[in-house]
């Protein structure tokens, strides 16, 4: 395959994942308003940077992600059912319906299960990276988090550990400008990429709405990490097009937003890039969108029919072997 057609297929794959993700996002948001889904943290606005990042990874690289990483997962090949089943918390959910929506797990894709306390995945990513080096594996670790998460203890700990132990981690800050209602300017006085210097690791800023730019930045970071040159903090500037979550009312604190379909929408940015390269035209776009809509609708309907988990699954996997207390308690409950 020629280099150009190689790029073309990569880019189309990226765009397709982006459309799929956007379509799914909107589907879940509307299903939530209809009471068919309990909760959700939309990803609209952050698609390009995530997919750019995913493009730069090998399939055995590890991901310690966060609750907005649907585009990344889809691009990586995680089946859409995995995501929908998690959101439904049904019996087909990889994590057995235990976690709140948006807390994904996809072990086959080396996507670690997501926790709620923000940035607490970062020290784990450092440990995972240590393990890769120790085991002489070539895998690197990508870990994602928001701008607000840079204020946490765990960010500080992980960045310093990555510096001191020269670990193959890519810290991808999905800087959407907000931590719920707090704008990033009130979160910290400086630009986030500059924080890398405090730990002796490399820091860069990219336009996160441009998947190519993000891809190149992450690729470079991955290369360095694999070569033993240590960690990189990537400050990928994007924006949160939607509310923080389905429980959030952004009109309380925020006036400007980015409209879907506007020039700033990363999907439009991506379309323009692909059109500029003549990789795609309006007809193809329509085709991709129509296909995506059908896929999402079908999958959603399928997954919605899956029955809830057995009650018992609420109480297994606490340990390898259930404690006598829990056995007793479960007997009382069921």
């Amino acid at each position: 395959m020629s280099e150009e057609s190689d790029e073309r297929s990569k880019f189309i794959k990226a765009y397709t994942a982006m459309v799929l993700s956007r379509t799914l996002d909107k589907k879940i948001m509307s299903a939530q308003r209809q009471g068919r889904v309990g909760f959700y943290t939309p990803t609209m606005g952050q698609e390009a940077l995530q997919i750019g990042a995913s493009m730069a990874l090998e399939s055995d690289d590890l991901i310690y992600g966060y609750y907005r990483d649907v585009p990344l997962m889809l691009h990586r090949g995680v089946p859409m059912e995995n995501i929908i089943n998690q959101i439904m918390g049904n019996s087909a959910d990889e994590a057995k319906g235990r976690q709140m929506p948006s807390h994904y797990t996809a072990k086959a894709f080396h996507f670690m299960s997501v926790q709620s306390p923000v940035a607490t995945n970062l020290p784990l990513a450092a440990g995972a990276a240590y393990a890769m080096v120790y085991q002489k594996k070539k895998s690197v670790v990508l870990t994602t988090f928001g701008d607000g998460s840079t204020s946490t203890p765990d960010f500080h700990a992980a960045m310093n550990l990555a510096g001191v132990f020269n670990l193959p981690v890519i810290f991808l800050c999905e800087n959407n400008g907000w931590a719920i209602s707090l704008p990033v300017e009130k979160q910290t006085k400086v630009e986030i990429w500059t924080k890398a210097e405090a730990y002796g690791i490399r820091g860069i800023r990219v336009n996160g709405n441009n998947f190519v730019e993000t891809y190149n930045a992450v690729l470079e970071a991955v290369k360095r990490a694999r070569e033993g040159k240590g960690a990189t903090l990537i400050d990928a500037i994007s924006f949160r097009m939607g509310p923080h979550s389905t429980s959030d009312d952004p009109t309380k604190y925020r006036s400007e937003t980015v409209e879907e379909g506007s020039e700033k929408d990363p999907l439009v940015v991506t379309e323009n890039i692909l059109k500029g390269k003549k990789y795609i035209d309006d007809k193809m776009i329509d085709g991709i969108k129509t296909k995506a809509q059908k896929l999402v609708d079908d999958k959603f309907n399928e997954c919605e029919k899956i029955k809830p988990p057995e009650p018992m699954t609420a109480f297994t996997d606490v340990y390898k072997n259930m404690t006598w207390m829990l056995k007793e308690e479960v007997e009382d409950i069921l």
């Binding site: 309990g38 909760f39 439904m88 918390g89 049904n90 319906g97 235990r98 976690q99 709140m100 929506p101 807390h103 926790q115 709620s116 306390p117 923000v118 607490t120 607000g148 998460s149 204020s151 946490t152 203890p153 765990d154 931590a179 719920i180 209602s181 707090l182 009130k186 979160q187 910290t188 429980s247 959030d248 309380k252 604190y253 809830p308 988990p309 009650p311 699954t313 609420a314 109480f315 606490v318 404690t323 207390m325 829990l326 308690e329 479960v330 009382d332 409950i333 069921l334």
Partner: protein, 322 residues
């Protein structure tokens, strides 16, 4: 008197406290413009300004640590942790600073502050938005731990907490935020710290509970016509010893209901207090109906929370014991 829910009661009490004393400030995540994710601080930043209703960066230990530094220096901060599940990142500040400053400074420095946080399940929050971690606080000498079960007590306990002169962990049962309304007096009054409330007289059995489980226990008892005395602890540290002893001696049958996990939950301490000093009065075992010793599940949360069925099972076991 105004009829209000717990969110309204807390909101208006914060307003009252701030209007009377300029040393009262609020701090936490999203408490300003946003008014808090549960709207407890709604409108207060607009009224009192960002210096008094402080939106902090995302760092719980910073919120707690800053509040301590304020409290030690003449202010009366009321800090919010958005969900109790996220408080553990501030645990060292709570256990090793907040709880120990009066003691370790020979009484020189004190920490008059309130740390508010919503806790408990029933809102489909899964593992990380449903925890009932009261044990972690109630085991920590130097802290005072309260939890209201209704709007009236919420206001009275908050006003008392602010007068205490020591740090208070103020646990708000988020499931009851909007589900119960009370007549709440407009002015000041207190619900004394350390005093439980007998919310129902009864002769055959004593049910000791608190916070989020109070309505469940009450409705179960009424629906099933159980001749039960119900004690709402309201303060978890220190507990109301007399209230516990009185009811145990009266009925001789005791059960404890809470949604925190059983092992080392509050029920353990209540049970131990009783069998230490009133073993003679007991007509049966001391039973606990609690959350199980597991994390909190999302889709199956109804199986986690104590309910009518489980409470009645225990009632029946106790009543037929012997």
């Amino acid at each position: 008197m105004t009829e209000m829910n717990m969110v309204q009661a807390l909101n208006s009490t914060l307003d009252l406290l701030m209007s009377k004393d300029s040393s009262v400030v609020l701090l936490g995540e999203d408490i300003g413009k946003d008014g808090g994710v549960f709207r407890v601080t709604d409108g207060l930043q607009a009224k009192y300004g960002p210096e008094r209703v402080i939106d902090t960066p995302l760092v719980e230990l910073g919120i707690v640590g800053m509040a301590i530094g304020m409290a030690v220096n003449g202010m009366k901060p009321i800090a919010e942790i958005q969900f109790q599940d996220f408080i553990y990142t501030a645990m060292d500040q709570i256990i090793n600073q907040m709880a120990k400053i009066r003691y370790r400074s020979g009484g020189d420095y004190t920490v008059p502050m309130v740390l508010r946080t919503p806790y408990g399940g029933g809102i489909k929050g899964g593992l990380y938005h449903s925890q009932s971690g009261e044990t972690y606080f109630a085991h920590t000498a130097g802290l005072t731990v309260v939890t209201p079960s209704n709007p009236y007590d919420a206001k009275g306990l908050l006003l008392s907490s602010m007068q205490l002169g020591d740090p208070v962990i103020f646990l708000e049962p988020k499931r009851l935020y909007r589900s119960i309304k009370n007549d709440v007096p407009d002015g000041e009054y207190t619900v004394p710290i350390g005093e439980a409330k007998k919310i129902r007289e009864g002769n055959s059995i004593s049910i000791i509970t608190y916070g989020s489980m109070v309505p469940t226990v009450l409705s179960t008892v009424e629906k099933n016509n159980v001749d039960a005395e119900i004690i709402d602890l309201r303060t978890l540290l220190p507990m109301d010893l007399n209230a516990i002893m009185d009811t145990v001696k009266k009925t001789g049958r005791v059960m404890i209901v809470h949604e925190a996990p059983r092992t080392l939950g509050m029920g353990a301490e209540i049970s131990a207090i009783i069998s230490e000093r009133a073993i003679d009065s007991l007509l049966g075992p001391i039973l606990r109906v609690t959350g199980p010793d597991s994390p909190f599940p999302y889709r199956m949360e109804d199986y986690y929370l104590p309910n009518e069925k489980r409470i009645m099972k225990a009632v029946n076991k106790l009543m037929t014991f012997g």
